[in-house]
Amino acid sequence: MLKLLNAIGEYFLLLGKVAQRPQKRKVFSKILMREINDLGVNSFGLVLFTSIFVGAVAAIQMYNNFRSSSIPIPMSFVGYATKAVLILEFSPTIISVVLAGKVGSYITSSIGTMRVTEQIDALDIMGVNSANLLILPKILASLVFNPLLIAISIVFGIWGGYLAGIGTGSWSAADYITGIQMYMPSHFIWYAFFKTAVFAFLIATIPAYFGYNVKGGSLEVGRASTQAVVWTIVAVIITNLVLTQMFLS
């Protein structure tokens, strides 16, 4: 328990070092562009693939539940329910968990390797705020690009549900489109993006903490990557519960 509290303290101290004005804006912008590419653009394919299949599975599950219901439910509700679960849970949470695995391990291993090969020491000795230079661009890249990935995920998830209907012939395209056009409170969308931004912050900072504080060699970097992914997923899931209770109950 004491170890956990110590780690949480160190995490916030690191965030204090990160949250400072960049020393050289030009260098910082260059790194930020690279991070947007590495963390965001390179995750596009995985998000697309996952979203289409998650959307299709969600739609099939909805259809099966509605069909077995004792009360007759119109097939257009398959579209509505798929849209609702994608916006409220599947896209922000599931995609964030997927990104915690992909992006989280990349962040820990890249920063961790820099630590064990003394590249971070080299930056510190030069007088560069290494935490700021290495971690802040990752946070900003995630905060900017993850909401975009989630928006894409929602669109392609809904499209996945549509394709599942066409493929199985269980519900008509017209019913599905009617369903997704049904009214939904706009705060659901804001909630989804707010949640995504919070998760993006966790996905960038927790693995960065593990990478920045790694000690030893390549084996320890591997261990730190695994730990970082586990703790990021735990943090995302707990935060999801807290945010849902705060904003939707």
Binding site: K24, V27, M114, T117, E118, D121, A122, I125, G127
Partner: protein, 270 residues
Amino acid sequence: MIEVQNLRKSFDNTEVLKGISTTFETGKVNLVIGQSGSGKTVFLKSLLNVYEPSEGHILFDGRDIVGMGRKEKEQLRSEIGTVFQGSALFDSMTVQDNIMFPLDMFTNLTFTEKKKRVREVMGRVHLENAEKKFPSEISGGMQKRVAIARAIVNNPKYLFCDEPNSGLDPYTSNVIDDLISEITKEYNTTTIINSHDMNSVMTIGEKIVYLRHGIKEWEGTKDIIITSDNNHLIDFVYSSELFKELRKYLIKINKTSIENIITKVEDETD
């Protein structure tokens, strides 16, 4: 000049540096030697303030890095060039970007000016035609030269090298030693090298500090090391039988300084 006053460093309850005091002069190559575990790396990292000393003072031309504010420390560190044991080049950057990095961070030069300066230092360390290569695409010796080029690109006042010859063949080691020695004179830097390479000690070490179990056991020049009566130092420096025999012979014929040895060899060659 760097003055070290009663430097102590402990990790948990283990004292690694036990009150070291010494002075490193400007324009000279200063060597810190000692066996593995003697505290050399901790000493160097404490001087650089990577490790906060438990006690003592480190004065860089009168400026004490211990207890210095963040801004002052950043300023002082921009005057320091460092060559790490593993080179510590940035993997994601080309050789040119690696060398240019300190200029990007600490100067307002234009790209053309920076490129010109990078070309100058690359020429200085004999690294032409490697600008576009990544660190993983060049040899260990070339990586060391890139690290030296990056360390001197900003005209540092202080140059720190942590075992610059480790992992290099004897020929490349000599090239790196000569390069560091020449750069020290050209740039008038206060150079401190951590080493256990005896060739470096005997050729470029103008001042030598010998550490043992975290204590400064001996300090002096390469010319008096041969006549030292410190048995630990002698056992360390002349560890091989060949070196021990050579030392006995040189003392016997009263040729104890490096200059004398070279003169003797030249005399015999003539």
